[in-house]
């Protein structure tokens, strides 16, 4: 990590993410208003001293909603990618370690999942369930494990016949020991990189779903559904659209910079270019 943060892009990404995470964590301490408090006397106020980011159509303080919405967006990203990574590690490990027919079945399943447009898949599943933050996390997780699976499988395939693994096997190490102490720790860097990049796209998907009204449901704030209000009032209230959009942009940019920077730091080959 220390080594990686010497890469300037990774450092910028890391600072952005650390800053946003901190703001989301201490949201209850710094939010000037209750994010759901309706105030009919302060409807659609432009940014001013009392409301730094203005107020929305119900007179709610946008800054407070942004801070609380950030908690939701970040949480969805983490949990969704956590689910996807876990599935990916298990399936990829089994596939790469045991090969044979298990590998064939898992890889064909990956092909099938990749051939259904992901956003259609997510929306279709949501149509059959009721939209809620937990369902969103699970659905995004269950539809984005394919990349990690392929990655872990490829790592395992290439590590499987390396001398240190063969040596451990010759000494009588069991499969579980080979997987958990030799193969998995050596595949960790690419897994972390792909998880970080995965969070970036999960944040984008969640905000898109919430924007369409199929994600996080009102009155709970998320960056996506603040933007839905922004669309409604686009002619009178630019601040409702500008701030949540910038927040999403910054978060995704931060994760992408961090992920790419880490990859470059650990993979000297990509630095040659």
């Amino acid at each position: 990590m220390k080594h990686a943060l010497r890469n300037p892009l990774a450092l910028i990404g890391f600072s952005i993410i650390a800053g946003i995470l901190l703001l989301a964590l201490i949201a209850p301490l710094i939010a000037p208003y209750d994010p759901n408090a309706i105030n009919v006397k302060a409807i659609l106020l432009a940014p001013e001293a009392n409301h730094w980011m203005g107020t929305d159509g119900l007179g709610r303080d946008v800054l407070s909603r942004m801070l609380y919405g950030g908690r939701i967006s970040l949480l969805v990203g983490f949990v969704a990618v956590g689910i996807a990574t876990l599935i990916g590690i298990v399936l990829g490990a089994v596939s790469g370690f045991y090969r044979g027919w298990v590998d064939t079945i898992i890889m064909r399943t990956v092909d099938v999942m990749l051939s259904i447009p992901t956003f259609f898949l997510i929306l279709a599943v949501i149509a059959f369930l009721t939209p809620s933050i937990w369902n969103i996390m699970i659905v995004i997780g269950l539809t984005s494990w394919m990349g990690v699976t392929r990655l872990v499988r490829a790592e395992f395939l290439s590590l499987r016949n390396r001398e240190f693994v063969l040596a451990a096997q010759a000494l009588g190490a069991k499969d579980a020991r080979l997987i958990f102490t030799h193969l998995l720790p050596n595949s960790l860097t690419p897994i972390i990189v792909s998880s970080i990049l995965g969070i970036a796209s999960a944040v984008l998907v969640e905000s898109g779903l919430s924007f369409l009204g199929l994600g996080v449901q009102a009155p709970q704030a998320s960056w996506g559904n603040i933007l839905t209000d922004g669309k409604e009032y686009i002619q009178f209230a630019w601040w409702l659209s500008l701030f949540p959009g910038l927040a999403i942009l910054l978060t995704v940019l931060g994760y992408n910079l961090l992920g790419d920077g880490l990859r470059d730091a650990y993979n000297p080959r990509s630095n040659q270019h």
């Binding site: 064909r108 399943t109 092909d111 099938v112 999942m113 990749l114 051939s115 259904i116 447009p117 992901t118 956003f119 259609f120 898949l121 929306l123 279709a124 599943v125 949501i126 149509a127 059959f128 369930l129 009721t130 970036a200 984008l204 905000s207 898109g208 924007f211 369409l212 009204g213 199929l214 933007l227 922004g230 669309k231 686009i234 002619q235 630019w238 659209s241 500008l242 949540p244 959009g245 999403i248 942009l249 910054l250 995704v252 940019l253 992408n256 910079l257 040659q272 270019h273």
Partner: protein, 339 residues
């Protein structure tokens, strides 16, 4: 080549079976019977249409029978009729006994989405190609840095937010471009040229949004591909035998760097089709994405299942075309697959 085509074609069959399985599983996600779960089923649907749905998916039969019937529906592309839009056929037109033709919903929506995606692919190539090449040739210089920054922002920008901002800027503030639908009022009275122009103006923003979201990845891909090729021995050979730099880059390097793009375009099809949901619903374009979104809101299950299947089929066809085009364009691959 023919042998390869056939092999590649038959390889799609297990994928199709897999797709039918996954879509069937999604259909059975809803707690209980999809017609009875009141939380999710369209409350406007009458008892009659509930009955129709039960018949359509044979919900009273054993699961294995239901699945084989679903496979049969997929194979014949017969997805039944919509609940929400007056029983219109989901996929293709039908004729009633008086000879009146009712157009299918996907039949009407698909060409619009395809047109938007083809136009945005052209735009992507027109912008991303020069960007990627310049970035590679000026590696680590100012131009490269600026383009890389642009690529990172392109990756991070939420398409729907950009759409909103552009809608506000070009549509509301300046009134340059129409921000909704495909045709202006009075479209039918226009000359054909006027009609085309009118439609193109309506398509401008959706196509631009759709292109922006795919642009960054392609530009980065061209850059890295170019850099990799420029380090190859045959480029050094070309240079050392005295070819001018122009010939080396455009005659030798670019062609080889661009070949893998064919595959990338094939792989980007599901993303483009899926991405149409947001762009089309923001700009009220009556394509597949909007149709799907409306169907999800109304829990119009026959339409949802139909579009899900057609979307997957399009992806498979796109990948097939990309693979075949690659084999056709690259003699090494061609020879490889022949053996």
């Amino acid at each position: 080549m023919l042998k390869y085509l056939l092999k590649r074609f038959f390889w799609m069959i297990p994928l199709l079976v897999g797709i039918s399985l996954i879509s069937f599983m999604i259909m059975h996600l809803a707690p209980g019977d999809i017609t009875s779960s009141e939380a999710s089923f369209n409350p406007k649907a009458s008892e009659e249409s509930r009955q129709k749905l039960r018949e359509l998916y044979s919900l009273d039969k054993p699961v294995i029978v239901q699945y084989s019937l679903w496979m049969k529906r997929m194979a014949t592309l017969n997805f039944g009729t919509s609940f929400a839009s007056h029983q219109r056929p989901v996929f293709w037109q039908t004729k009633d006994k008086d000879g009146n033709v009712t157009l299918g919903m996907i039949q009407e929506a698909l060409p619009i989405t395809l047109l938007i995606n083809v136009l945005s692919l052209i735009l992507i190539i027109a912008i991303a190609l020069p960007l990627g090449v310049i970035s590679a040739l000026k590696q680590n210089q100012l131009a490269d840095r600026v383009i890389t920054l642009f690529v990172f922002i392109g990756f991070a920008i939420p398409g729907f937010w950009l759409a909103l901002m552009l809608m506000y800027w070009t549509g509301v503030q300046h009134n340059w471009l129409p921000i909704s639908g495909l045709q202006s009022l009075g479209h039918e009275h226009l000359h054909w040229l006027g009609k085309t122009l009118d439609t193109l103006k309506h398509l401008a923003l959706p196509v631009f949004i759709s292109a922006i979201t795919g642009l960054a990845g392609i530009a980065l891909f061209v850059r890295n591909g170019m850099l990799e090729v420029l380090h190859q021995d045959y480029i050094t050979t070309a240079r050392s035998k005295g070819l001018n730099e122009h010939r080396v880059i455009y005659g030798h390097a670019l062609r080889n760097a661009l070949l893998p793009l064919i595959t990338i375009f094939g792989l980007s099809i599901p993303g483009l089709i899926g991405g149409s949901v947001i762009a089309e619903s923001i700009f009220a374009i009556p394509g597949m994405g909007k149709l799907f979104y409306d169907a999800v809101l109304m829990r119009d299950f026959p339409v949802i299942m139909g579009i899900l299947t057609i979307g997957a089929l399009l992806t498979l066809i796109g990948n097939l075309v990309a693979d075949v085009a690659y084999a056709w364009a690259d003699p090494r691959v061609r020879r490889g697959v022949m053996q």
